[in-house]
Symmetry: C2
Subunit: 443 residues, 2 copies
């Protein structure tokens, strides 16, 4: 095989970062050498790993793999075909990936933030250098959603992609529902168990899911990466009251990432929504991830599995390495554009604004229990042309606020937002009102 | 692009068969010309369709597509790069695919029976001719299970693949449970609605699911195609009584296709089993298909969607065409062996026999309601070392047989079979006893 001007007999791999996922990748490559070689038609050889802690014992027999504290020995090396970036974050990952691509090496990464925010420059660079930039591991771990969207649905016009893309949030919401506990307590338990970070904001504020959604949307619609325009709403405001009400009404609350293209307008949102208890997306529980894709010929296909963790993420990284090895064995690269179409065909689509985003909503208020309150609130809703499908009030109290729950008919997000601003100013309303969108039509 | 010695600018497609799926493929190719061209880097051009009824109006604007009654004008043509075989069955499909491959054309097929039973000779021929034989559409319609297993799980040792591979059976079992109707009536309704064939035996006797399982197992384990050794048991004997009992015990009955590799022994079976009501496989309802795959790094990943029909199957056929076009654009073919490893690496693994197939079982008998019956039956079970976890009897009758339902502890299929032969001979046993395996451990 001819590669980079010289004949090589193996895919020579350098790795940046040797944390949890790095350990998984090294373990897999060392464990399954013969299997991988049979399937790829050449060995996958882990040559060198750059890590800040080369001396730390990770419980692996690394054989001839070289450990170095110097990233240059990976990104500048002439004896490597591909660099696997598993550092995460932007600094120094962005610069290192740039340099690896510049030097003509293929790159495979699990770094969703990097792809979502700097993918455009990186894909253009990779394309100009004739090398590949693989990122299957950046979305949904072991679940092959990038490949499914880019290859298996290649014959479809895709108009809808949605799913559960953050295992931490899904775990928290599942625990809240099953144990009837408030958000803060479940979060703190999850941190103790290692399911949530010490600083959880990337997860619970919807940033991580939005990074992944940006990637899926760009592939689905052939658009530029568009992280900035995604509506991002996390789960901090989801209360145990909301969860209990959802249950009572036959719904579950999920942090749903959704990209929908309708009438030429794009809706990109990560937010808590209510989904029917009997839907498949409601059945995705705990740390699992799942992605649903609707294509005009395929209909809805769904992909489910472990979205994070040492071994599942390693499986996705190695899938990209295998694709690369199989390409190089037959002397081809650049078979498939990173975002499904070549960079010059990528579009920017107009976004559906809040006044165009229609739906039905659950509203939850905490009100003083006295005559006339309901009249004030419903008058405001009526003024914004919001009509109600249902209204529930439970419990009575002279002293404390009581919850008032309403479900609207079809209206717009803008109307809901404007009405809630006015409602919040009423004396009888004791906490900021909350709204959660209801998605009744999902598979 | 250089192809077959001459420069071509498009993937030139010939089609054999113009039934339901053929119509879907033609419709997709004609509808999405620009989209496909952008994504593949070259147009996909439907040149010619051979059909027994070229004059029939199918409601499509075929433009320049040539219709012919002569299959030779497709398989022998020099102006085609790929032949899409959508005739189904063995005669004349097998011969035509042979001839197309012999003439150096790539072939894409949705024909599960052909691949399951003659795949070995066809893959060897394709490999020797340096052409590709795609068959994603042969298993689970729009759900990309061949690609997932062969590419996305390429880094994994897979030990378990199972799923719902026959939509007709799943529809019948779903209807039986939801409406409380017997098999014969639901089958007849399904035939009226076009969900079941006039001769339903391919579906309801498990043959169709076994064809698909043979294909998945060969890819998963890198083995020769092994349709003959699959245990095949259909759903004709599943009664409304069984369905009702399953519900009462917290299970659902599904026609499950399963390939499991454990301790070097292979278990290949298509049969009705009871799965926990709360499992994801139980949630696969109606005509849907779903496949679950367990890999040592990925864990369990699941793929769900429409397993048949004009448009979903067309989506899968075109996915294979797009893969081929993307290969040819960069001048490569044969990137990925059909069954994951090259033909000379394929293995034949020993099968787990009935005496080695362990599990727990539901047993259903129809017995005369008189003293001593239970003693006779349990004595036989004890003699075969089968112990019981539960026993249920409902209803009393002097005249008619009453159902007696038992659930065993872990035992072997052989013991169950031998015990049931003896039990059937008892005077008090009025119908052939039935057993259904219980799979409690599935995702």
């Amino acid at each position: 095989m001819v590669l980079g001007g010289s004949t090589v007999e193996a895919l020579r791999i350098g790795m940046l970062g040797f944390g949890t996922v790095g350990r998984g990748v090294a373990d897999l490559l060392l464990n399954h050498q013969e299997l991988l070689s049979q399937r790829a038609g050449m060995p996958l050889r882990l040559v060198r790993i750059a890590t800040r802690t080369p001396e730390r014992d990770r419980g692996l027999s690394l054989g001839g793999v070289e450990l170095t504290g110097d990233v240059n020995r990976v990104v500048n090396a002439s004896d490597l075909d591909v660099v696997v970036e598993l550092i995460g974050g932007f600094i120094p990952a962005r610069d290192l990936v740039h340099r690896a691509l510049e030097s003509g090496k293929h790159v495979i990464t699990a770094n969703k933030a990097l792809i979502a925010e700097y993918g455009s420059e990186l894909f253009a660079l990779a394309q100009s250098k004739g090398v590949q930039l693989g990122f299957e591991a950046s979305v949904a771990g072991a679940v092959p959603v990038v490949k499914a969207l880019r290859e298996s649905l290649a014959g479809n016009r895709v108009d809808l992609v949605y799913g559960i893309l953050n295992g931490t949030c899904n775990y928290i919401l599942t625990e809240m529902r099953e144990k009837g506990l408030p958000f803060a307590q479940v979060l703190s338990d999850a941190q103790d168990k290692g399911f949530a970070e010490a600083d959880p904001s990337f997860d619970v504020d919807g940033i991580d899911a939005a990074h992944k959604l940006a990637i899926l949307a760009a592939i689905a619609f052939g658009t530029h990466l568009d992280f900035a325009r995604i509506v991002k709403e996390g789960i901090r405001h989801v209360s145990d009251t909301d969860i209990a009400w959802a249950k009572e009404m036959g719904y579950r609350i999920k942090l749903l990432a959704m990209a929908r293209l309708k009438e030429g307008l794009l809706e990109l949102a990560v937010r808590p929504v209510m989904v029917p208890e009997s839907s498949m997306v409601a059945a995705v529980e705990g740390v699992s991830n799942a992605v649903f894709m609707h294509g005009d010929y395929a209909g809805t296909t769904m992909y489910h599995g472990r979205g994070a963790g040492e071994r599942p993420t390693a499986s996705a990284v190695v899938a990209d390495l295998m694709d690369l090895a199989r390409d190089l064995r037959v002397g081809s690269t650049g078979r498939i554009p990173a975002l499904s179409v070549p960079v010059h065909h990528l579009r920017t689509l107009p976004i559906r604004t809040a006044s165009q985003r229609q739906g039905t909503f659950y509203l939850r208020l905490a009100v003083t229990d006295r005559p006339g309150v309901l009249a004030e609130i419903t008058a405001i809703l009526a003024r914004h042309a919001i009509s109600l499908d249902a209204i529930h009030q439970k419990g009575r109290s002279r002293v404390e606020a009581v919850p008032l729950v309403m479900v609207t008919h079809e209206t717009t997000e803008e109307r809901i937002a404007m009405a809630l601003v006015e409602i919040e100013q009423l004396d009888s309303v004791r906490e900021p009102p909350r709204s959660i969108r209801i998605e009744s039509g999902l598979a």
